[in-house]
């Protein structure tokens, strides 16, 4: 298979396929991941090719899925769990936070929990309630979990393979509204970056836009629009939310002197709060303006007819850029 166009769904599918081929201990588990191929078809064809022993349709019980995945990991397996939608992960939250995240430390390092939990997350697809949530802060706040969120098909492919290969539990957040974006990918190649490295996606000198997952594309569009007005915005795609590549962030902000963090999750207590604090600590004498944040509001994720008002878009990002530049 040479380089060709992949949607993010296909890129993820190919990553799962390669992981199943490369390690006989790799398992896929989740609701409807078998014959159906998942509600987003990320596991399409895997049940047919690898069988029900390795691509496991589970009962509809998220705590049970993660809890048994932990048990399988203790037996030497490498489960890749699919949570069908972001809002359905909470029944498994206890198993993730109290067991999966802490068991390696509890055992003083004598057992490993190589469990990957894939979650289609965030909004923008016109869905009903519980299908559009951004809960990354809950997971990033928990020591013992690694949390990553790719923004494009190529990163999605390599980061998933890296997550599955990791000996730590990884929360793998898939920006579902980017599932159908396309890019050229060569699965026989090699990843450009380590799993927890950020990328400067667009260089600029006036201000740093920091985003991850679905908001990277919005920030790239904002930077392109700003360029028409003569502003050179740098865009940093964080990729990893725990750990965060603060070195790449700080290096960028020291050059630009200004930073705006963008995510779909509510601004209050979100990733942006942590990033703003860290940037202030590391780059205080380089800053020309306070670090600003653009994100969702402190309200339940709204009905789809008004979700556009909730979600940061190009104009809200540029509005924040203007406010930062005004200092």
């Amino acid at each position: 298979m040479a380089a060709e166009q992949f949607t993010m769904v296909k890129a993820l599918n190919e990553a799962l396929r390669r992981s199943l081929e490369e390690n006989p201990k790799t398992l896929i588990m989740g609701e409807d991941v078998g014959r159906l191929g998942g509600v987003f078809r990320v596991t399409d064809g895997l049940h047919k090719d690898f069988g029900e022993e390795r691509v496991i349709d589970t009962p509809l019980a998220e705590s049970g899925i993660v809890g048994t995945a932990i048990g399988l990991a203790l037996r030497g397996y490498r489960p890749v769990v699919e949570i069908q939608f972001d809002g359905f992960v909470y029944p498994a939250f206890d198993q993730i936070v109290t067991q999966l995240a802490k068991m390696h430390a509890r055992a003083l390092g004598q057992i490993k929990l190589p469990v990957t939990i894939r979650i289609p997350f965030a909004g923008g697809i016109g869905a009903v309630e519980h299908h559009s949530e951004s809960h990354e802060a809950y997971f990033a706040h928990t020591a013992g979990l690694k949390v990553v969120a790719p923004s494009n098909p190529v990163d999605a492919h390599w980061m998933l393979r890296q997550a599955i290969a990791s000996d730590d539990p990884v929360i793998f957040l898939e920006p579902k509204r980017r599932y159908w974006d396309k890019a050229v990918l060569d699965p026989n190649g090699a990843p450009e970056l380590g799993l927890h490295q950020a990328r400067v996606t667009r260089p600029g000198r006036d201000l740093t836009l920091i985003a991850y997952g679905p908001m990277v594309k919005v920030c790239m569009e904002a930077a392109a629009a700003a360029a028409e007005d003569g502003q050179q915005l740098e865009v940093v795609d964080l990729r990893s939310l725990s750990p965060v590549d603060f070195d790449t962030v700080a290096e960028s902000v020291r050059r630009t002197g200004r930073a705006v963090v963008v995510h779909e999750a509510p601004v209050f207590m979100g990733m942006g709060a942590e990033l703003a604090a860290r940037i202030t600590e590391r780059c205080f004498y380089s800053l020309e303006a306070p670090v600003l944040r653009v994100g969702g509001y402190f309200a339940p994720y709204p009905p789809s007819r008004v979700e556009d008002a909730f979600l940061p878009d190009l104009d809200r990002v540029l509005d924040a850029v203007d406010r930062a530049m005004a200092f």
Partner: protein, 381 residues
């Protein structure tokens, strides 16, 4: 030791053909009465040699002595907390001795007797109660998982592990330990569902000790707990949890079912928590002394002793030797706990992840620099 049990689910145990009145007071599987009389059961039996019976008696006594020592150590301030197994020795030793070396146990925080049977050094159990670790033993060394404090969570880990055994084509089996309180947890129901659907080789071993801290079993269930199994499609059995022989027989039967590909079994070991929930608890606030007195008459150790004496399989010298051994164990545990070192504070940062994590590394370096700053101040003085 041999166990006779046909593969079919015992009629008497499922409750399916019993009247509601009978179902409310189900019979226990019992092979040794509280008076130490050996009795037969239509579905379960076990043959033990005098050596094996003496060995079980030794287990029971040593485990109780260890437990008493740990309670004392808590009273002396050497442990922060202790969850006593007093009264549940037979349930734990009977089930623990039913396992083979390749089997795996997933305990709660009270399975000290099972740990003993698995060969885990009792001192290892005390680290978490002293506060020097959260467990810390290597679970794979003796196939005894770490104590799980959140109620019922481990039943899912046990089920997943058992699913892995099936995938490996092994005939090992798993025991998931939990209690009457845990039976109300969603995770336990989900474990029943997964185990049933995947036909996992797991025995759900519920020690119904009648009390979840202050709440009696009536606050957890309207039906006898073992009957829950039938709704999930596997057999359930209620066994006299204070009868080590009956527990051994029933658990072995359940493990054999698992090995033979017949799937999960629920064993409800009907027993009694003779002590407090933990050393922080005060049972006098919620239960009457008469209840405790009635259960004292069903003591799990006295009946084995009576049986050994009745059969003339043990003499005074044997009982004295076990007593002496238990005192030696207590001394070893006492000294071991008192000399158990506190971990270095920087160990907080160890094993958070299996692989490097930049934030943990940064915070470790920050902590070490901060701690070192006191050393240099001391030097200046």
């Amino acid at each position: 030791m041999t166990v006779k049990k046909t593969a079919r689910a015992p009629k008497a145990a499922t409750g399916a053909r019993r009247s509601p009145a009978e179902a409310a007071q189900p019979a226990l599987v019992q092979l040794l009465t509280p008076e130490g009389e050996r009795v037969e059961h239509p579905d379960f039996s076990v043959e033990t040699t005098p050596d094996e019976l003496r060995s079980l008696y030794r287990d029971l006594v040593l485990v109780r002595r260890f437990d008493a020592e740990a309670t004392s150590l808590q009273r002396q301030g050497e442990l922060g907390l202790w969850a006593s197994l007093l009264g549940q020795e037979a349930a734990q030793v009977g089930s623990g001795r039913a396992m083979r070396s390749g089997d795996y146990a997933f305990p709660t925080y009270r399975e000290h007797g099972v740990a003993w049977c698995r060969g885990v050094d009792p001192l290892n159990l005390l680290g978490m109660f002293r506060g020097v670790n959260h467990g810390g033993w290597d679970p794979n060394e003796k196939n005894f998982h770490l104590y799980t404090i959140v109620i019922g969570s481990q039943t899912l880990h046990a089920t997943g592990y058992a699913m892995g055994i099936t995938k490996d084509g092994s005939d090992d089996a798993v025991i998931a330990y939990f209690g009457d309180g845990a039976s109300s947890q969603g995770d336990v129901s989900e474990a029943f569902t997964f185990a049933s659907v995947y036909n996992a080789p797991v025995v759900f071993f519920c020690q119904n000790n009648q009390w979840a801290i202050s709440e009696p079993t009536e606050k957890q269930t309207k039906v006898p707990l073992y009957q829950r199994a039938s709704g999930f499609g596997f057999p359930g059995v209620r066994v006299d949890g204070n009868d080590v022989l009956a527990v051994l027989a029933v658990t072995r039967w359940a493990l054999e079912r698992a090995r033979n590909g017949e799937g999960p079994t629920l064993v409800e070991a009907f027993t009694y928590r003779m002590g407090a929930h933990t050393t922080s608890d005060d049972p006098s606030r919620y239960r009457i002394a008469d209840e405790l007195e009635s259960w004292k008459l069903k003591d799990p150790i006295e009946r084995v002793k009576a049986y050994l004496v009745r059969e003339d399989w043990a003499d005074a010298a044997f009982f004295e030797a076990v007593e002496a051994e238990s005192e030696q164990l207590a001394v070893r545990v006492r000294e071991g706990v008192r000399t158990m070192p506190d971990p270095d504070p920087s160990s907080i940062f160890e094993h958070v992840y299996a692989e490097p994590h930049a934030l943990v590394d940064e915070e470790r370096a920050g902590y070490l620099a901060y701690a070192a700053s006191f050393d240099s101040e001391g030097d200046e003085n």
